[in-house]
């Protein structure tokens, strides 16, 4: 790539970064409680701009032997700039009352659980269900969730992604040896089979996908269960019923971002049992069994390799310990007060089970009360 074209693109990226800083600083009427977030974004954008200037001012900028490395640096800067433009800047630029309502709800929840980090910014017009973007500290929720309660535990799962981003190095270092031991043991067991090489490769893939992906998703499931208990189990069942038919995929030799829903339900139940709530675990298990008895999908012959109980239970214990170590309050220690959100999420599911016909009206009264509290 000609150095002139490349250096021109780098300078344009710097211009974009400066435009974003100007745009950020021209936003009017941002609620005062969000000023720290705007200031933090301003700091990050200025850091990126300084780093791009440093690249341009490097005496070897555009030198042929370094061009490929500098091009790759430019790509990383470009990715960062895009992420901040498309998410926190766009959110703050278009900030509305529903975003603020959810921010206050998230802040209240974070205070009630003793969340040790800055509460996330909330984007109340998600186009992909609940989601999070840990590097920007943003959680997105669907447009109409302000009128509902039963899916709120999925916000807690997304909060788990942000916590994991803080803890992942230590966490994975502690968990990985046990996973590696399991994989090594399984490899030995299948070593004499005819298709041994295929199995070895599949076990390698299993270790890779667990370490890089599944452990994150399981972490968030356990985190949410620790904080809102059975409400998260019911919420998972609700989500699976509404969106999923392949409960036992990915299986052996497959790699996706999320582990199988069956395994996710098992780890939620294991967490509840580990926390001593066998009654809630049994109630959810019974409903799950009813559901799985009518779905067509069944586990294939190698599914059992993928999510062994021992590994799931070890992971549940480790995440619970991690939550305790950072002084997060478990659901069963939350006060049963009207505006205590972990308790409200549990109560909402209890209400739904006990009186489904009248639940919508009950839910409306509760969300109206929350709106009054947080306005």
């Amino acid at each position: 790539m000609p150095a002139e074209f490349f250096s021109g693109q780098v300078r344009l990226l710097l211009k974009r970064c400066r435009t974003m800083i100007e745009r950020l600083n021209s936003i009017q009427n941002l609620p005062a409680e969000l000023h720290p977030y705007a200031k933090e974004l301003d700091t990050k954008l200025n850091q990126i701009a300084s780093a791009i200037e440093k690249l341009i001012n490097d005496p070897d900028f555009g030198a042929t032997p370094l061009l490929v490395n500098q091009f790759d640096i430019y790509k990383r800067f470009s990715e960062l700039v895009n992420t901040f433009e498309w998410h926190p800047l766009a959110l703050l630029d278009h900030y509305n009352e529903r975003d603020l309502y959810f921010y206050r709800l998230a802040k209240l929840f974070c205070g009630q659980i003793q969340y040790p980090y800055q509460p996330p910014l909330m984007n109340a017009h998600s186009n992909e269900y609940f989601s999070s973007l840990p590097p920007t500290n943003i959680v997105s929720v669907p447009l109409c969730e302000d009128k509902h309660l039963l899916a709120l535990p999925d916000f807690v799962h997304e909060l788990g992604h942000i916590v994991y981003a803080h803890l992942w190095r230590k966490f994975i270092a502690e968990f990985k040896p046990y996973l590696q031991q399991y994989i090594a043991d399984q490899k030995v067991r299948v070593a004499n089979q005819a298709s041994s090489t295929v199995y070895q490769d599949k076990f390698d893939l299993l270790e890779q996908v667990w370490t890089q992906r599944y452990v994150v998703e399981f972490f968030c499931d356990i985190f949410a269960t620790y904080l809102v208990g059975p409400a998260y189990g019911w919420s998972h069942l609700r989500l699976v019923i509404s969106s999923q038919s392949e409960l036992y995929h990915p299986s052996f030799g497959e790699a996706q971002t999320h582990p199988a829903d069956e395994a996710r339900m098992r780890i939620i139940l294991a967490t509840l049992e580990e926390m001593g709530d066998d009654t809630a675990a049994q109630a959810i298990k019974d409903k799950w069994k009813e559901f799985t008895s009518i779905v067509i999908d069944k586990p294939d012959g190698e599914y059992h390799f993928c999510y062994p109980d021992d590994i799931l239970q070890r992971l549940a214990r480790q995440v619970i310990k991690e939550c305790r170590d950072i002084d997060l309050i478990p659901y069963f220690d939350q006060p049963k007060e009207e505006h205590n959100l972990p308790s409200l999420m549990i109560e909402a599911w209890e209400q739904f089970h006990s009186d489904p016909a009248n639940y919508p009206a009950w839910e409306t009264a509760k969300t109206d009360a929350l709106k009054s509290l947080l306005s």
Partner: protein
Amino acid sequence: MSETGIISQEYENTAELFRAINQSVIVLKKKHFNLTGAAQVTNEDLSEARKLLTDLLRQLIEELEHEPSPLLTEAATEATSLQVPPFFIKRLQERHSGEMQWYLKDLRELLQALEEGRPLTGDLITYLDELCGQLDAETTAIHRRLWRK
């Protein structure tokens, strides 16, 4: 739940490693090609760059050799500052599947030169560039999955 949370975590981990490795490669290349900025590269910069690359290469060679890993102690694992994303290993396995022994030989040769503080040859610089290029490709691929689904 959406895939954004998990993919953005993958991206962060891979991009962070890429930035560290790419910067180390730049330091070594400035010296190797005696570029204008080489005068500003200190011995400490060089030493840090070699150490980082040595740590990376040791981990890569161990993973690619497929030797059964002993149960690592918690302390030993935590002490490892570099966390190599498993799917980067997978990428290298796939890219070099037909010539893995040759590839491992190249990586060992590079590791030895870095450990001994020897000047890098043109071939060794090429190996470093290839490695860095694969890490960049992995980072870019994850970013594309994140935003161009």
